[in-house]
């Protein structure tokens, strides 16, 4: 086959092969080892080839050093894994490809916003949402009771953590990536309980058992030592606040709750007696009683 090529054509083809092969190699390497996270023209998991070219034009050694020992550079962006296993020759070919392929290209700007913020599955009320929450253990459950009142239950500690009034949560910091963040509470905390109001001992084993949904609202069930608890929070009519019902199995006779003072609200109950923030259910109500958290 070469015999039919003219010498000039042969030289031209050879030159093309000589220049094209390393470039091809770099392109292929980029696609195989970098392309999953780095797009040519826009930010993806990491910066675009255009942006990388801007940072490392004429800086091959710096590029290689970065690839071998990357460190967290940008807030909210995943750290690149070290790529030293590719070796200098391949990394150099990738560097060459990034520089050559981006000449004259312009970065496409990508908007970083929550596309699903207003979607029905996010805006439905009531809504139960398990997500990383501030001021709670990692097994947190956020519950939107209605449009106004929301609370955070902790499935690890088996207790209510806090109640707030406002517009539920902004989960985008968690959902936008892999969960390396906490959701934000949208609103104002009206109650924060530093411990379970039930007289649980530190040594009592706590076991979360799950929840049942009725009218979209959960009834949590858990075990504190030998006591089996059901706890359900529902809205009061007229937006006045919340009702919190406990059902207990295996509770001792002198069961007494230690409540925490809410902000701008007050505890009430027709099922027992208050002594300040201590609540003793009536004898007939020991196994099931309701407290309300009402606006003052």
């Amino acid at each position: 086959m070469p015999d039919i090529l003219s010498r000039r054509a042969l030289l031209a083809t050879l030159a093309a092969v000589a220049t094209a092969l390393p470039g091809q190699d770099g392109k292929q390497l980029f696609q195989s080892f970098c392309g999953a996270c780095h797009l040519p023209d826009r930010v993806h998991v990491g910066p675009s080839a255009i942006e990388i070219a801007g940072l490392y034009r004429g800086k091959r050694a710096e590029f290689l050093a970065w690839c071998k020992a990357p460190s967290p550079k940008r807030k909210g962006v995943i750290q690149m894994p070290p790529m030293g296993y590719l070796g200098d020759a391949k990394l150099t070919a990738i560097h060459r490809h990034i520089l050559a392929s981006t000449v004259g290209q312009k970065e496409v700007v990508v908007k970083n916003a929550d596309r699903f913020r207003a979607s029905p599955s996010m805006r439905r009320r009531p809504l139960v949402m398990r997500i990383f929450m501030p001021d709670a253990g990692p097994a947190a459950i956020a519950v939107a009771v209605n449009d106004d009142y929301h609370y955070c239950f902790d499935a690890g500690a088996c207790r209510l953590r806090y109640v707030w009034q406002g517009d539920f949560i902004d989960g985008w910091p968690v959902w936008r990536a892999n969960g390396n963040a906490l959701a934000k509470i949208v609103g104002d905390i009206v109650l924060r309980e530093p411990r379970s109001p039930l007289p649980v001992q530190q040594s009592d084993k706590r076991k979360f058992l799950g929840y049942r949904l009725r009218a979209g609202l959960p009834t949590f069930r858990y075990r504190l030592g030998e006591v089996r608890v059901e706890e359900r929070i529902t809205p009061l009519p007229g937006g006045r606040g919340l009702a919190r019902r406990f059902r207990l199995e295996g509770a001792p006779r002198d069961w007494r709750l230690r409540l925490t003072a809410p902000v701008g609200m007050t505890w009430r109950s027709g099922d027992g007696e208050f002594d300040g923030l201590e609540f003793t259910p009536a004898v007939s109500k020991r196994a099931e009683f309701t407290l309300t958290l009402e606006q003052k």
């Binding site: 070469p2 092969v17 894994p81 070290p82 296993y85 398990r130 990383f132 959902w175 892999n178 979360f208």
Partner: protein
């Protein structure tokens, strides 16, 4: 000049051949993107088929939806789960879902088509709040036992002050582990690239069928996104290239095994030493080798769920194992070839085509022979949505390697159709190994061409016997079958074979 002419001739020939070899996969399979309902973040964490052929699918933001392929209708079954990354159907009214904090049974007790009971089946493992502590599974064995896999934490962040479950005192002091942002930087190296300070991180845990008894089953996992059983009942777990993993792997997991990533050793009963300070040779001695090494950048970068092809599906490939991958535009088909109780075998690209795309996370089959693939990325490499893959059937053919067997001196490859002897000229074999070390990933070590001293196709044309001068073990043998065609002129589907050899016959 004549020498150059030869080189040039080869270049032109190779280019011409490449130009003549269009992507063969779409000729044999169809790929259909299924629209996801508006308003749902279409990253799929798990999916499984209901007995009636509908699919149960869980999404990034916690929804579980039921999709009916017959009508195209979607129906909400549950919501509000925390990063669910695995789903197993028990019945049309009961699903098991693995979310970050627990294995949950979702039950529709009143028959309205929506789950009303969210029962905690198993939450007896720790959480530090570190983002990388994902939870995977469950896989169910023939006796009904369930298996879940727990990810290690990443030193991309520390831990939270408030954790769930037990804390291992082995390693960096806890008050340093809670440092954040810039304050974390000085400590992260000492924490280990991936760490397991909360209970059973880096372990596979076995649960009795009633969920009452949890048994830590095996350890040494880094990021075991894929857990499942093959058609022969082997428990397979995939793991992701990184520290202590020179490349990604598929393991045949047995009780009590340590599979190489060191962080989880802190939860072995009686273990007291910081694994990062134990001599590597000792760790190497302790570990179980992988059944399959999946070369990084070529075959898989981030392997996902193993799934068995059901009987009667995909023609000659029925009952074989498929494994997904997040980064590569391919699945992996795995053919075990155990020798004297040692699990090993061949990994082969499957559906290696742009039509498949990347992000292939969860897979299941329906009775009509469809393979359903759920995609995700979680901001890493990957994709989104649901893809349905169907074989075009016997008329389209499926020319592939369906047996790989090591011998004393080489390998025997079996093919689903007779091979054209004239197309065997492109067969090349290479061998390499990987380092076992703390560093992130490994280059190919000792990568070299293996001379094929004899290369014989049997009379039927479906068995190719390759013999070498020597056959060192503990190596990955890469078979490049470029240009191989069947006698009927079909291109080979999957022209690379990566055989992990631990023991020859």
């Amino acid at each position: 000049m004549s020498c150059l002419r030869g080189v040039l001739g080869s270049c032109i020939l190779a280019a011409a051949l490449a130009a003549q070899s269009p992507d063969p996969w779409p000729a044999a399979f169809t790929f259909e993107n299924v629209p996801i309902p508006a308003g749902i973040d279409p990253q799929i964490g798990g999916l499984d088929a209901l007995p009636d052929g509908r699919l149960a699918i869980c999404f990034h933001r916690g929804e579980v939806m039921i999709f009916d392929p017959a009508s195209g209708a979607w129906q909400r079954f549950a919501e509000g789960l925390h990063e669910p990354l695995g789903l197993l159907v028990e019945s049309a009214a009961s699903l098991l879902v693995m979310q970050r904090a627990e294995l949950t049974r979702l039950r529709d007790t009143d028959g309205d088509g929506q789950a009303d009971d969210y029962e905690t089946v198993y939450d007896g493992f720790g959480m530090t709040g570190n983002y990388h502590e994902f939870a995977f599974g469950p896989a169910r064995d023939a006796a009904g036992n369930l298996y879940v896999a727990l990810n290690t934490a990443s030193n991309g962040a520390g831990v939270r002050e408030e954790i769930r479950g037990a804390w291992s005192p082995i390693g960096l002091a806890r008050d340093k582990m809670t440092a954040r942002g810039r304050a974390w930087e000085p400590f992260k190296q000492a924490a280990g690239r991936m760490y397991a300070r909360a209970a059973w991180r880096g372990w596979v845990v076995k649960l009795s069928p009633d969920g009452e008894t949890a048994t830590p089953f095996a350890c040494g996992f880094r990021s075991p996104d894929g857990i499942g059983f093959d058609a022969e009942g082997r428990l397979l777990v995939t793991d992701n290239q990184g520290d202590w993993l020179g490349t990604s792997k598929v393991h045949h997991v047995k009780r009590g095994g340590f599979y190489g990533h060191v962080a989880s050793l802190v939860w072995r009963p009686g273990w007291t030493r910081n694994p990062l300070e134990v001599p590597v040779a000792e760790l190497d001695e302790l570990r179980m080798p992988a059944m399959g090494l999946l070369p990084h950048g070529e075959l898989a970068n981030s392997p996902t769920q193993p799934v068995a092809i059901p009987a009667g599906v995909f023609g000659p490939l029925a009952r074989q194992t498929l494994i997904g991958d997040m980064d590569q535009h391919t699945l992996v088909r795995f053919l075990p070839d155990p020798v004297a109780g040692v699990s090993q075998g061949a990994a082969i690209p499957f559906l290696q085509t742009a039509a498949l795309g990347r992000g292939n996370h969860r897979m299941t089959f329906t009775a009509d022979g469809s393979l359903w693939i759920g995609k995700t990325h979680l901001s890493w490499a990957g994709a989104e949505g649901l893809v349905r893959v169907r074989w075009r059937g016997a008329a389209a053919g499926l020319f592939a390697v369906d047996r790989v067997r090591v011998t004393q001196r080489g390998f025997v490859l079996g093919f689903t159709e007779p091979v054209a002897a004239a197309s065997l000229g492109g067969v090349r074999v290479r061998a390499h190994r990987y380092h076992y070390h703390k560093a992130y990933g490994s280059p190919k070590v000792d990568d070299h061409a293996v001379a094929v001293v004899s290369n014989a196709l049997d009379e039927s044309g479906t068995t190719l016997v390759l013999e070498f001068d020597e056959l060192p073990a503990d190596s990955v043998y890469t078979f490049q079958l470029d240009g191989l065609t069947s006698r009927r002129g079909r291109a080979l589907l999957g022209d690379r074979i990566y055989y992990t050899l631990l023991r020859a016959r």
